[in-house]
């Protein structure tokens, strides 16, 4: 079946009412970003010496990395376990991960007091630091993702390099370089795919180790010795829902038929993955006897319950329903719930669960902080749209000039 669909640039207008609204959000966020870079972190954020980390770390970085997990889970499925059925979603998943990690790096730059020294960890090493490992792994993985994307760029421009004017003499060399990259990557891709999965496993789990050093400052519901394992398991579980959600949104936005045959099959993995995550989460609770906290009515307890019930238990049940797997609408809802659950988990662990020893007043993200986070996400969506318009990422039915027969065939064969 997939032989009839081919990844091609989408022929649509970039501008729609929604993209204009997103562009507004980007500009709105940039205003606060500008203030932050000119007047310092204190001018925009509610961060202080009691609360050194806020949503720029909790959401933009911790949740951002988790939600970019679609890249490595799909790469493992398609290239390592060699499930060809899912080939069509490999490129969208790769693009999401690439953009996701790019914006993790941008999010970090907003938060770093000395953002212009962001490259320091490359040659100033501290092997004891969890953050160092996360930083190096994220930088390495981001590079791997760009390399994995090279074949897409090569495919788009081979034989179509048409620079004008004085640059025209470059046409041939550039084309040769692209062909060279294409040939090399054909042979070397497997190495980068595996490397990407290994790097992802390392830093996805290590982000769970980050808050361990905060000790008693983190609420016991989250301060678990197996937090790294649970972070890795939740990253496994959230990868495919991200791919499903974004595939459904882009087919709707571009007026394409949802790739339900692929997405339903993909959805079947989510139930078991969520179940394993839930088992560890509850097992950890039983072993450490943290259920005593469920007796009290407090913000952390309520947030934990929402995270588990709405973000894990309900979508887990949904993903085991055939009806949900076959319906674009319900599949979308179930995926959104998983994404919400993992996002909330990271937010809880980094922000809600953090209680300073000497708290003057509780932290709540400022309007500026929220605006920057929203702006960053909006920019990410816009870039995704732009890149699928330019590059062959999304698979579409191949239109043969002779007749529409074969396209119809695709609808028949299921």
């Amino acid at each position: 079946m997939s032989s009839l669909a081919k990844a091609m640039p989408i022929k649509r207008n970039f501008f729609t009412p929604i993209t204009l609204f997103l562009a507004f959000l980007v500009v709105h966020g940039l205003v606060f970003g500008f203030i932050r870079f000119v007047y310092g972190l204190g001018a925009v954020t509610n961060l202080n010496n009691q609360y050194p980390w806020g949503i720029w770390i909790g959401i933009d970085v911790a949740a951002g990395v988790a939600l970019a997990a679609g890249g490595f889970t799909t790469a493992a499925l398609v290239y390592i376990f060699n499930k060809e059925d899912f080939h069509d979603i490999a490129r969208p998943a790769l693009l999401t991960a690439m953009l996701g990690y790019t914006f993790v790096a941008i999010g970090v730059a907003f938060d770093l007091g000395r953002y212009y020294f962001i490259y320091h960890p490359l040659y100033m090493w501290n092997g004891n630091s969890v953050l160092f490992e996360v930083g190096i792994c994220v930088m390495a993985y981001l590079t791997v993702l760009y390399i994995e994307f090279l074949p897409v760029v090569a495919q788009r421009f081979i034989g179509r390099v048409k620079l004008k004017g004085i640059l025209a003499f470059l046409n041939k060399p550039v084309d040769a370089v692209l062909r060279f990259i294409d040939r090399i990557m054909d042979k070397a891709l497997f190495f980068f795919i595996i490397l990407g999965v290994v790097l992802s496993c390392l830093h996805q789990s290590s982000i769970g180790t980050l808050m361990m050093i905060a000790g008693t400052k983190i609420h016991p519901l989250w301060q678990s010795p197996i937090a790294p394992l649970m972070y890795l398991l939740s990253a496994f579980a959230v990868g495919f829902p991200m791919v499903i959600m974004e595939s459904l949104i882009s087919s709707r936005s571009f007026g394409l038929k949802p790739e339900m045959n692929v997405l339903s099959k993909l959805g079947r993995f989510v139930g078991p993955l969520l179940a394993v995550y839930l088992a560890f989460k509850l097992g950890d609770m039983a072993v450490r006897e943290t259920y005593v906290y469920l007796n009290e009515f407090s913000l952390p307890t309520v947030m934990w319950l929402i995270e588990i019930v709405v973000g894990v238990v309900i979508p887990l049940r949904m993903f085991l329903y055939d009806k949900v797997l076959k319906s674009p609408f319900w599949l979308f809802i179930a995926s959104i719930l998983v994404i919400f659950g993992v996002l909330l988990n990271r937010f809880d662990n980094f922000v809600v669960a953090y209680t300073p020893l000497y708290s003057v007043k509780p932290y709540w993200p400022s309007y500026g902080e929220i605006s920057v986070t929203v702006g960053v996400i909006a920019l990410e969506i816009l870039l995704y749209r732009l890149l699928v318009i330019i590059f062959p990422v999304i698979s579409q039915p191949v239109k043969l000039p002779t007749s529409g027969m074969k396209i119809k065939l695709k609808g028949v064969v299921r």
């Binding site: 932050r36 961060l47 092997g127 004891n128 795919i193």
Partner: protein, 297 residues
Amino acid sequence: MNQSRRNFFKTAGVIGASIAGAKPTMAAAESKNILSDDRMGVLVDTTRCIGCRRCEFACREAHDIDAGQMLDYDDRSVFDTLRRPEVDSLTVVNEFKNGEPAAEAINVKVQCMHCDHPACASACIVGAITKQQNGAVIWDTDKCIGCRYCMVACPFQIPAFEYQKAIQPRLMKCDFCFSRTSQGGIPACVEICPMEVLTYGKRYELVKLARKRIEQNPEKYVNHIYGETEVGGTSWLYLAGKDFKDLALPAHGSAPAPGASESLQHGIFKYFIPPISLFAILGGIMWLSKNKEETGE
């Protein structure tokens, strides 16, 4: 944990490694601290402190922070609220009520404890914070990238960050007057203290001195030297006539603060065996699944 079992897990790939490392072993942190026997410390005898805050003045003077007039420090209204170290005050004195006569109030000076196994140094992404041979935990402005993970890690909530600065914001904390103490001098606060609250000396001698004071005046002190074992020991030690919890000094166990996260980290990366084995396993699966497909067709 049993050593051979540990080794088994380490070779069993990354998931195995996270399980092995995740066991709450509180094994001593593997940080390569130079803990010299001659490292220095300060003993703070809170029973002697009168809350004159001369130490705050001297500290500012020593660190090029606008200190104002010394007389300003006689204002005792600042004791109405609990104060914490800030970017412009690396040490602060707080006052705690203790029964009716106001004179009985207890004054407690707060600053960086200069841990023997500092969580901030373990956490720092670029190794900008280091434990020095003389006991000081100091910060290197040339390395810092301003991530503030040290502040997340600190078990005493000491470091302060210059949030109002857009360029070269600094991490401000007591540096044990390193420029003086590394040259054989004594910290500014110790020098100015008129009540001999602060005693600067070799840490092990200070522990002896503190124990002697408790023995000689058991009714005056609680039998606890705060900092002797807390988070693996600190260079600054405290004596008090009241439970330390009531003096806003957090109750910590004797395990070094970075312990669990460091051993987990080292478990995952020991000789790079787990990542490399994971790479090999995934490569094997890839090869097998490709082969299977080719023979199947």
